[in-house]
């Protein structure tokens, strides 16, 4: 026999309206007679209503984990357990989904079954971290729940000062814009750092995100310490017949005003015969025209990725975007992927050794300067890394000649390599 429901007049107001209601869902669990989670969910509702009334949160952290790992479980202990004792422990397991967040119904049902047995019955698909969040489990059931999920092929994600759960877009699985094997990059990067994920010992968090094209549906530039984004370096593909069909349908003026003039580098021109002239040399792969004319335009064939580093949110110096550290690299042969992995390793090693406590990669770059960071991880400077060169003369340049020589030497080597290859 369950305990009585708390009055939840404020939460009840979130049951009306057309959008699916999480309150209705939680209530169903709270009314689920005989289930192990029933009382927990009754008190969860009570505490949440209390938060709504008092406009404050009542969870605090602590230490909860599974054997062998130092992170991945988010401990939550109630500060108002006296009133809501059944939900006094309400921890979350962060579980990494398959890259691209694919599921068949069989595995979905199995995930539900585990959480019916050990947890609250409440699962979030997915948290901002990219994890499936199994929300609400008491301390004594964390290990058993994890063991069962782990046997099914799932692993804990990251938490604390660690490599975090990654994210990748649907990409090659369903998107014609895909310029990379997103899930492969995602898995190679994250799965190479499981020790740094499961045993948090970095200065602060480190995130990988992978988007298949510059539309960056994974928000990797802003949200990842290391963002890998698909792109191409040959000419975009133009189906002139489809261009003409589009112009015929939409009108010349519409196409000029909505495609031609929106090109950020004026690389498009509509010919008088309604075909499209593309100045590929000055195209910056922004995707706008391709997004608009999906049938007529598409990325080229010589695909690869751009890598940016240092994206993060507000704390401590304000939001930062990642910045380009590798303008382009191919990802075809195993060596290519190895090279990407090695760059990630060098970066995380450098981060571990040089960042201050609670400092993100982007803040470290800001503090030490991009050039020192590049030297630290063994990458050469490249003009694609900047929007524009310095505009202040306040710099000491007495080693100019040596630095200039480095560039000439590199360029000569590249030329030789190109000629040889």
């Amino acid at each position: 026999m369950s305990k009585p429901m708390h009055d939840t007049p404020m939460l009840d107001q979130l049951e009306s309206g057309p959008w699916p209601s999480f309150v209705t869902g939680i209530k169903r669990l709270a009314k689920d007679e005989g289930k192990p989670y029933q009382n927990m969910m009754i008190d969860l509702l009570g505490q949440l209503e209390h938060s709504y009334k008092t406009r404050k949160g009542y969870w605090k952290g602590g230490t909860v984990g599974v054997i062998g790992y130092g992170g991945g479980v988010i401990p939550r202990f109630s500060e108002v357990a006296a009133n809501y004792p059944a939900s006094k422990e309400f921890h979350t397991l962060r579980i990494q989904p398959a890259a691209g967040m694919h599921y068949d119904t069989k595995i979905m049902r199995q995930l539900c079954d585990v959480w019916e047995k050990y947890g609250s019955g409440l699962i979030a698909f997915h948290g901002q971290s990219g994890d499936i969040m199994f929300q609400g489990v008491s301390s004594d059931k964390v290990q058993a729940a994890f063991d069962e999920l782990n046997e099914m092929g799932f692993d804990l994600g990251g938490a604390g000062p660690a490599v975090r759960t990654g994210m990748s877009c649907v990409g090659a699985a369903r998107c014609e814009h895909s310029c990379a094997n997103e899930q492969k990059i995602h898995r190679i990067l994250v799965n190479n750092f499981l020790d740094d994920m499961h045993r948090p010992a970095l200065p602060y968090k480190f995130k990988f995100k992978v988007s298949g094209c510059p539309n960056d549906c994974m928000n990797s530039i802003e949200r990842a310490d290391m963002a890998v984004i698909g792109t191409w370096r040959d000419e975009m593909k133009v189906n002139q017949a489809e261009v003409k069909t589009f112009v015929a349908k939409k009108g010349r003026k519409y196409v000029i005003d909505n495609v031609i003039t929106r090109c950020p580098t004026n690389a498009l021109s509509l010919n008088d015969d309604d075909s499209l002239a593309v100045d590929n040399r000055n195209c910056v792969r922004c995707m706008h025209c391709i997004n608009v004319m999906t049938k007529a335009l598409s990325p080229g064939d010589d695909k690869g990725v751009t890598v940016l580093m240092g994206g993060k949110r507000t704390l401590k110096i304000g939001d930062l975007m990642g910045t380009v550290v590798i303008p382009f690299m191919k990802l075809e042969a195993q060596e290519d992927y190895d090279k990407l992995r090695e760059i990630a390793e060098a970066t995380i090693d450098f981060f571990a050794e040089n960042a201050l406590e609670h400092e993100r990669t982007g803040e470290m770059i800001e503090r030490i300067g991009l050039v020192n960071f590049l030297e630290g991880i063994g990458l050469e400077v490249d003009p694609n890394m900047i929007a524009e060169p310095r505009q202040c003369s306040y710099v000491r340049m007495d080693t100019w000649d040596e630095e200039a020589q480095k560039w000439f030497t590199r360029k000569a080597e590249e030329k030789r390599a190109a000629a040889a290859g």
Binding site: M10, L11, Q13, L14, S16, G17, P18, W19, P20, S21, F22, G25, I26, L29, S51, R55, K56, G57, K60, G61, A98, M101, H102, Y103, D104, T105, R109, E116, G121, I123, F125, H126, G127, Q128, M133, N150, G153, F154, M167, A172, E176, S178, R187, V190, N215, C217, N219, I221, E222, R223, N258, R262, C286, N291, T294, K295, S298, T314, L315, K316
Partner: protein, 355 residues
């Protein structure tokens, strides 16, 4: 018996759960179309076609909801689903004939079909009072309240371009950048429980965490504690996570602020950060009507004034911020003028002015 050690399997291979048609045409898609709101049709180079039906969810789902979605996937689709970054669920089918019955079933069961193309998609959100240890507001509740209001904009494709909304329940901004962001903004310095600081907080770490160096160690009532220079304090709450006795959340003074123009995509302009447009908005559960009203006003003006394919940031870049404030009837204050690092970049160093 020795304890079970974890299998460090990391990120699972997605091919085991992937719709076979997607696996078969992996990396070989040709183009896509949007036959109607909520539906995508992708054509592969092989000629294969796959239809995706996208539906909104509440993100925090109970078992019954998830199992119902599985039942729908099994009965009306082909047993495969995936989730988008904004917690929409996608059902993939290989036959156009299955699309309408699937939509009908989802709609009947209360799952809105939409979120594609130029629509307002599901709000990316944080944990809030439901599960976060430092929240200034709820998250799921704010989102439910807002999505009820924006339901029509989710199921239609009537906006100039896609709209991504985010919320963050503290100023750390886990919600990230959005076309529109609704974030907590504290307005008063932390209230310090000096009895607890010494025991609970690693004081040098807390001092180091402050972005404006306003915290210093101090003896208060004979106990080692921390002191805040309230003139320097920007009330950001950075000290609260490492030191819970420095309570930043306040039922009245933790307000909501609305930010506009964050854009992650590289389409047209480079990715942009969101900018402050409104603050001092009451944190008013359960339906946060004041914040919702402002969001709706912004969306209405954007919808009326923007051109096709203009994201909110593109639109404002074209019409200018003065017009944005005029059209949205939001007040422009001295707080909108940046004074953080690099603020000069945000000043108008030109005669580019619209009259």
């Amino acid at each position: 018996m020795p304890p079970r050690m974890p299998i460090e399997s990391g990120v699972p291979d997605p091919f085991q759960y992937m719709h076979p048609l997607m696996a078969r045409n992996f990396g070989a898609w040709n183009y896509h179309e949007r036959p109607r709101p909520g539906v995508l049709c992708h054509t592969a180079k092989s000629g294969d076609k796959i239809w995706t039906v996208r539906a909104g969810t509440q993100r925090q789902m109970d078992l019954y909801t998830i199992r119902k979605l599985c039942d729908i996937a099994d009965e009306y689709a082909e047993g495969y689903v995936r989730f988008t970054i904004r917690s929409n669920i996608e059902f993939m089918v290989s036959n156009e004939a299955k699309v309408q019955p699937l939509i009908d079933k989802l709609t009947a069961e209360g799952f809105p079909v939409g979120g594609t193309g130029p629509s307002v998609s599901m709000i990316a959100h944080t944990q809030g009072w439901l599960h976060c240890d430092i929240p200034g507001t709820d998250a799921s509740g704010v989102v439910k309240a807002l999505m009820d209001e924006l339901y029509e904009e989710f199921i239609k494709e009537d906006m100039p371009n896609r709209v991504h909304i985010t919320t963050s329940c503290c100023q750390i901004n886990c919600g990230g950048q959005g076309d529109i962001a609704i974030n907590i903004q504290h307005t008063k310095p932390p209230k310090i429980n000096h009895d607890l600081v010494a025991n609970v907080c690693e004081r040098p770490s807390v001092v180091a965490r402050c972005p404006v160096a306003a915290i210093r160690p101090a003896l208060v009532n004979g106990k080692p504690s921390l002191e805040v220079d309230e003139k320097k304090c920007i009330c950001c709450g950075a000290c609260y996570p490492p030191c819970p006795p420095m309570q930043i959340n306040d039922p009245e003074h933790s307000k909501l602020a609305i930010w506009v123009g964050g854009n992650h995509s590289n389409a047209r302009s480079k990715p942009t950060f969101q900018k402050l447009v409104a603050a001092g908005i009451p944190n008013n559960p359960p339906r946060w009507t004041e914040a919702a009203a402002i969001v709706k006003k912004i969306l209405r003006v954007y919808k009326e004034d923007a051109r096709d394919w203009e994201r909110l940031s593109d639109w404002v870049a074209r019409i200018g911020w003065p017009r944005f404030f005029e059209l949205t009837e939001l007040p422009f204050t001295k707080f909108h003028i940046d004074n953080w690092r690099g603020a000069r970049r945000s000043l108008n160093a030109s005669t580019h002015i619209r009259f």
